[in-house]
């Protein structure tokens, strides 16, 4: 609970706790689920957690750099989602499944 600007209604570390929680949830999803789509969703969740972090600090430091940065991360997230889905499609065409632990051709 550090010094918070008087006009920031919500203390900045609340944002951070939230961000941490969402990030962990996302990470758990990436590591524990076998369906490729769920993994992609969890990835988006992690990205959003980061966005929250950035926005919180942007407000805390009273400049707009954080918000601009969020815009870019969103753009990148969109690109990544598009490409990831294309890959998922191609994988599905080849193996008729999207269970990630069945893709182990690089084993050994």
């Amino acid at each position: 609970m550090g010094a918070t600007p008087a006009d920031m209604p919500i203390p900045v570390d609340w944002y951070l706790y939230l961000s941490a929680a969402l990030f962990i949830v996302g990470a758990a999803g990436v590591l524990m689920r076998r369906n490729l789509f769920i993994i992609l969703f969890s990835l988006e969740l992690m990205m959003n957690a980061v966005n929250i972090n950035l926005v919180g600090f942007s407000r805390f430091h009273e400049n707009l750099v954080g918000q601009n940065f969020v815009l870019f991360t969103m753009a990148v997230a969109a690109a990544e989602a598009a490409v990831g889905l294309a890959i998922a499609t191609a994988l599905f065409r080849n193996r008729q499944t999207l269970m990630v632990d069945l893709f182990d051709r690089m084993k050994g």
Binding site: L40, Q67, L71, A82, A86, T89, M99
Partner: protein, 195 residues
């Protein structure tokens, strides 16, 4: 005071949505819960006076990205099938434990930090006087951040082209790769399994 309560509500809902996403068996359910999470996050952005971003969040994330996901999910038409044996049981337990550990670590670290603000001068009042958040945001974007902006467009272009190439169908007839049409049932050997 009100802000704080609202924040807590939205935060809890967001986390709940996230948890739901990662635990659903049905992909569409998970998708919808994720959209719900995004909306809650947008609400939090509103509370932070990042109005432009909040709207962009809804438009882009919930509106575009998730719609894209919906398209593909429907396209690939996955089913919920019976359970298959876990091939790597240990992974999930380790992941779970590890996640909790890291969360605990984050909390511990955060608890011990005191933050000092580097005041940048863009208080809500200052923003309001300068012409509104969108105008100020656009100022910063197109003046200081012009190059990253252009690069971001290139990134999107590249992603688009890449995605198209990745899903391009082989025209050669008689190839061993069986191309898949929408509406195809998964072949009987490929037992899908959903967890």
């Amino acid at each position: 005071m009100v802000d704080k309560i609202l924040f807590v509500i939205f935060a809890v809902l967001a986390v709940a949505g996230g948890l739901g996403t990662i635990t659903r068996k049905n992909v569409v359910h998970a998708l919808l819960l994720l959209v719900f999470t995004f909306i809650n996050i947008a609400a939090i952005f509103f509370l932070t006076q990042a109005y432009f971003l909040a709207v962009v969040q809804i438009l882009v994330y919930a509106g575009a990205i998730m719609v894209l996901f919906v398209f593909v999910v429907m396209l690939l038409n996955l089913r919920t099938f019976k359970q298959e044996e876990q091939t790597h049981r240990g992974q999930r337990w380790v992941a779970l434990v590890l996640s909790l550990l890291v969360l605990a670590e984050f909390v511990v670290v955060l608890a011990g930090i005191s933050f000092t603000s580097a005041r940048g001068g863009f208080t809500p009042e200052a923003i309001a006087t300068a012409g509104g958040s969108t105008k100020v945001f656009a100022d910063a974007l197109f003046n200081q951040m012009l190059l990253p902006f252009e690069v971001a467009s290139v990134v999107l272009l590249v992603a688009m082209v890449g995605a198209i190439i990745l899903v391009k169908r082989e025209k050669s007839a008689g190839g061993t790769t069986r191309t898949w049409e929408p509406g195809d049932q998964p072949s009987p050997e490929a037992v899908e399994e959903e967890v």
